[in-house]
Amino acid sequence: MSAMPLPGRHKGWNLVAVLTRWLLGGLFLQMGLSKALDPVDFLKLVREYDLTQHPLLLNGIAAALPWFEVFCGVLLLAGVAVRGSALMLLAMLAPFTWVVFQRALAIQADLGIPFCAVKFDCGCGAGEVYICRKLVENGLLILFSAWLLMGWGRGLCARYALMKPRAEN
């Protein structure tokens, strides 16, 4: 942490962090809505991961996850509960990236093709994607979320319009 400049001290970095927050928020809002508006397609994709065969669990994941992404996306865009939202994104992204990686390995083994030639709809809301590109994207999203979790990106937050910072109370 000591090597990292503290939030608030570098306006340039703060601006980049706010833009990152908006980018993450917008991305999750868009990806969440695309799935929430067609939950049956998302349900079929979730089933392909073979995480569970129990209908209630399967339906629960497919029904709630897209709206949860929308929820986090809106909070990030508005700047409310930024660190909590970033933590939620991390909690979704890390295991999701792992299961996508595992599924890509299974497809690679089945088709006998190079790993980076594996292309499938991972249920991310962007249709079919090449796995290597998806893993890089998710890696970046994880880094961005971790950055926000460290306290960056809190400029232009609606939270401060709703509640005065404690120091001013």
């Binding site: 929430a36 508006l37 067609d38 939950p39 049956v40 349900l43 089933r47 392909e48 073979d50 065969q53 209908p55 209630l56 399967l58 339906n59 629960g60 497919a62 029904a63 709630a64 996850l65 897209p66 709206w67 949860f68 929308v70 929820f71 986090c72 509960a81 909590g84 939202s85 939620m88 909690a91 599924r103 299974a106 497809i107 089945d110 088709l111 093709i113 030639a117 594996v118 292309k119 499938f120 709809d121 079919e128 090449y130």
Partner: protein, 197 residues
């Protein structure tokens, strides 16, 4: 925050007209068949479905149908049933198990749409037709698509005898690739074409 988010997410699903019914089993299989994960074709072969003619039905789909004791129809049988005089009197019926958008893009002429994920709109009509039919051909996109199997199982579950059903595994992609006629838009729209919709 996670609890609040989850509560909002489930509430949004409940009020959404496209929301899922949490307690419903959308994949009514009696038997789970192990097999390779369904996957897109390699990039050099293009998007899934475009090479359906050259590709045999995926083994998991075939094995699953066999495990459910559902009869399979190949392109020859499906085409023969389509040309059967009984098709005009609805003693032979085709059921399209895809969603409305896909159905409107092109379906077997005269086929009824039955999206088993959202059966509310079509169930009464399809049920009535199936009760009167002698043979029922159910199809979806083809390839690794399982919706035709689920639709057949859903209709069997509401009392249609299993022996009437044929699952056309090649589906709409194979049908169109063989230059067989397809109908665009609503059922009996009269907008008939041949080849790829």
């Amino acid at each position: 925050m996670a609890i609040v988010g989850a509560a909002i997410a489930f509430a949004a699903n409940a009020v959404s007209p496209r929301g899922l019914v949490l307690t419903r089993n959308y994949f009514p299989k009696a038997v789970t068949v192990a097999g390779p994960a369904p996957a897109a074709l390699p990039a050099e072969l293009g998007p899934a479905g475009t090479n359906a003619v050259a590709v045999a039905p995926p083994q998991p789909v075939v094995a699953s149908l066999d495990a459910e004791s559902l009869q399979r129809a190949d392109i020859d049988l499906a085409a023969a049933l389509f040309r059967d005089p009984r098709y005009q009197s609805e003693l032979v019926v085709f059921i399209d198990a895809r969603d409305e958008e896909q159905y409107r893009e092109g379906h077997v002429p005269g086929a009824y749409q039955f999206d088993h994920y959202r059966p509310e709109k079509q169930l009464a009509t399809v049920l009535h037709v199936c009760q009167l039919a002698e043979q029922i051909v159910v199809y979806c996109t083809g390839g690794d698509c399982e919706d035709s199997e689920f639709a057949a199982l859903a209709l069997i579950g509401v009392g249609i005898p299993k022996e009437r059903f044929f699952v056309y595994v090649g589906g709409m992609s194979e049908w169109a690739a063989h230059g067989l006629p397809f109908e665009v838009g609503e059922r009996n729209s009269g907008n008939i074409g041949n080849g790829e919709p």
